[in-house]
Amino acid sequence: MINTDFKIMHEDGLSARPAALFVQVASKFDSRIWVEIDSKKVNAKSIMGIMSLGVGQDDEITIIIEGDDEENALKALTELIDSNFSRVPEV
């Protein structure tokens, strides 16, 4: 299991479009992935779950990944967040 903190720099936070990209990338992996903020923890493959968190710009989230392809999942999600949701990584 990996536990990594990220800061969301996107000016809209995790609103509909960035959230959809995030879920799209997370869903490509078999690992179970969660996003946690302020003790609220949701499934990263669920768009409604991610949007329910109301993550804004500069908010810090924790991504928790558990499974066989967890390293690759973390790499892809890191790439997506680092590119500020402008580039969807190839998987």
């Binding site: 509909a16 869903s27 609220k40 923890k41 949701v42 499934n43 493959k45 669920s46 768009i47 409604m48 779950g49 949007m51 329910s52 968190l53 109301g54």
Partner: protein, 311 residues
């Protein structure tokens, strides 16, 4: 005891309180939903003083304070304020005497006022705190009210939980929450589920996108919260796995330490899940009323075998 931090702004809004004075802190740490009326403490009896509770001043306490000898009163109140109680609430919109206000300010304690009568205020406060302090968890799944039973659909992403819920809504059942369900333990064996406020009554359907159930199907298709009665776990049909054919033994799952009956339903293309969920809900209600179909059939079978043996 476990401390829960409640934003002061929230308790003010929920309880409709007026702020007389408050410290700079924006939150309040509370460990219990009980409240205390500090009459005995004002009289000088501090044994068993429940100082961890919110203190409520009603007409009796206020009249007693007014009737006290000022120096004795000051002494008792100072002793009272030495305890770290969460806040002080005066009921019935009563005037706040200067000596009380000064001590609250000096000790940086929050002093609120409510227009409610004391017992109504206490009742509301205990209810509110009970819910605010309840253990909470967010789980992935869909909560639907089917024939009055709170059915929590679980399973991997993409198994068809939302689609099943949509079909159930179309058949006249009510959606509580899609995808993320906030579950609260309100009593020892009672769980209440609701949707996070932001996404309430919205749903995501692959290929269509986000839809608003309340606008689409009307107010009768949704409900804000619902106690959880059964958990239905949807999973891809696994040929190597044995599925329940009788329903004589019950499986359980635990959420926040509460045991809920769990039914595993294998999913295969062409299986109408909504009808199966409806049947599961009806069956649960029958069992709840004391009728177990599997048991009943088994009893008939046993009676027949017994009869044949006698002949």
């Amino acid at each position: 005891m476990l401390l829960t931090t409640i934003p002061i702004e929230k308790i003010i809004k929920e309880m409709n309180l007026e702020i007389i004075t408050c410290s700079e802190s924006e939150t309040m740490d509370i460990s219990t939903s009980d409240v205390n009326r500090p009459g005995l403490q004002f009289a000088g009896f501090f044994d068993y003083f429940a100082s961890e509770r919110i203190q409520v001043l009603g007409k009796v306490e206020m009249t007693y304070l007014q009737s006290m000898d000022p120096s004795f009163r000051q002494q008792q109140l100072e002793r009272f304020f030495d305890y770290e109680f969460p806040c002080l609430i005066v009921s019935r919109n009563m005037d706040i005497p200067d000596y009380l206000l000064e001590l609250a300010k000096k000790n940086k304690r929050c002093l609120f006022r409510s227009a409610l009568s004391t017992s109504t205020l206490i009742e509301k406060l205990i209810n509110y705190l009970g819910s605010a302090l309840a253990p909470k968890i967010t789980r992935h799944g869909v909560l639907v009210d089917v024939y009055g039973a709170g059915v929590f659909l679980m399973g991997e992403s993409g198994i068809g939980k939302s689609e099943t819920a949509l079909e159930l809504v179309k058949r006249g059942h009510r959606l509580v929450a899609d995808d993320a369900v906030e579950i609260k333990k309100v009593a020892d064996s009672r769980l209440i589920g609701e949707s996070p406020e932001l996404i309430r009554h919205f749903m995501e359907i692959r290929g269509i996108g986000i839809i608003d159930i309340k606008s689409m199907y009307g107010v009768g298709a949704v409900i804000n919260n619902k106690p959880l009665d059964i958990v239905i776990y949807l999973e891809f049909w696994d040929n190597s796995k044995e599925y329940d054919r009788l329903g004589l033994t019950e499986e359980y799952t635990e959420i926040l330490g509460v045991r809920l009956p769990k039914i595993v339903i294998p999913v295969r293309p062409g299986r109408n899940l909504a009808i199966i969920v409806e049947v599961a809900a009806r069956n649960w209600r029958l069992k709840h009323l004391g009728y177990n179909a599997a048991q009943e059939l088994d009893n008939r079978l046993n009676a027949l075998i017994e009869k044949n043996r006698e002949q």
